[in-house]
């Protein structure tokens, strides 16, 4: 019930192509957070979404929270080699515990 499922597991794109990763839950989420982990690095907070249908943008990154608050997506427009890494979605509980999805590893070919 607490799990968040993330797809795809891996994505290889040519530099300049777009990229999307999806996060799904069987239960309604109070919030969704997105983190990026560079190879050999640690998770770095990107954004939090809390409202139904919310859309937030950070430069080339667009984050969406579904109307039913059961899914979310991260879309990167015109990928760059600096976008390489693993993108995790996660839900935060009232105690602050983060439950992460399996992550989507993005490889960008220059």
């Amino acid at each position: 019930g607490q799990q968040v499922m993330q797809i795809p597991q891996y994505q290889h794109v040519q530099e300049g192509e777009d990229f999307t990763t999806y996060c799904n839950s069987s239960t309604t989420l109070s919030n969704i957070q997105w983190y990026k982990q560079r190879p050999g690095g640690h998770p770095v907070f990107l954004i939090q979404l809390v409202k139904s249908g919310e859309v937030k943008k950070q430069k080339r990154l667009t984050f969406q929270f579904g109307e039913a608050k059961k899914n979310s997506s991260l879309h990167i427009t015109a990928t760059q080699t600096t976008d390489v890494g693993t993108y995790f979605c996660g839900r935060s509980s009232n105690t602050g515990k983060l439950i992460f999805g399996q992550g989507t590893t993005l490889q960008v070919k220059p």
Partner: protein, 114 residues
């Protein structure tokens, strides 16, 4: 910008030995966490700590694990008798409040159990 720090960056130990992983959370944060990431897998919650006691722990956090805040700045994770399957990256994190807030992670300690 304040950061969570962790030491050591890499710890190698023999199976059955005790290890202590150290973390310095961000100074005005009140909630502290440990997470584990086995190579190539997702980040898994281990334990949360608030007001000098464990507030929540996962199934992974069995009797071999303990956490402590020995002074006003450090937060430690102890594994009493390490097993091969404890080999992983261990991340410390902290937050100013519980619940829906950004949670900065430390750079991690890579634990290798031989």
């Amino acid at each position: 910008e304040p950061e969570v720090t962790q030491t050591p960056s890499h710890q190698v130990t023999q199976m059955g030995q005790e290890v202590i992983l150290r973390c310095v959370p961000i100074s005005n944060h009140l909630y502290f966490y440990w997470y584990r990431q086995i190579l190539g897998q997702k980040v898994e919650f281990l334990v949360s700590f608030y007001n000098n006691e464990i507030s929540e722990k996962s199934e992974i956090f069995d009797d071999q694990f303990s956490v402590e805040r020995p002074d006003g700045s450090n937060f430690t994770l102890k594994i009493r008798s390490t097993k091969l399957e404890d080999s992983a990256m261990y991340f410390c994190a902290s937050s100013p409040t519980s619940g829906r807030t950004r949670t900065p992670f430390g750079p991690g300690t890579r634990l290798t159990v031989l």
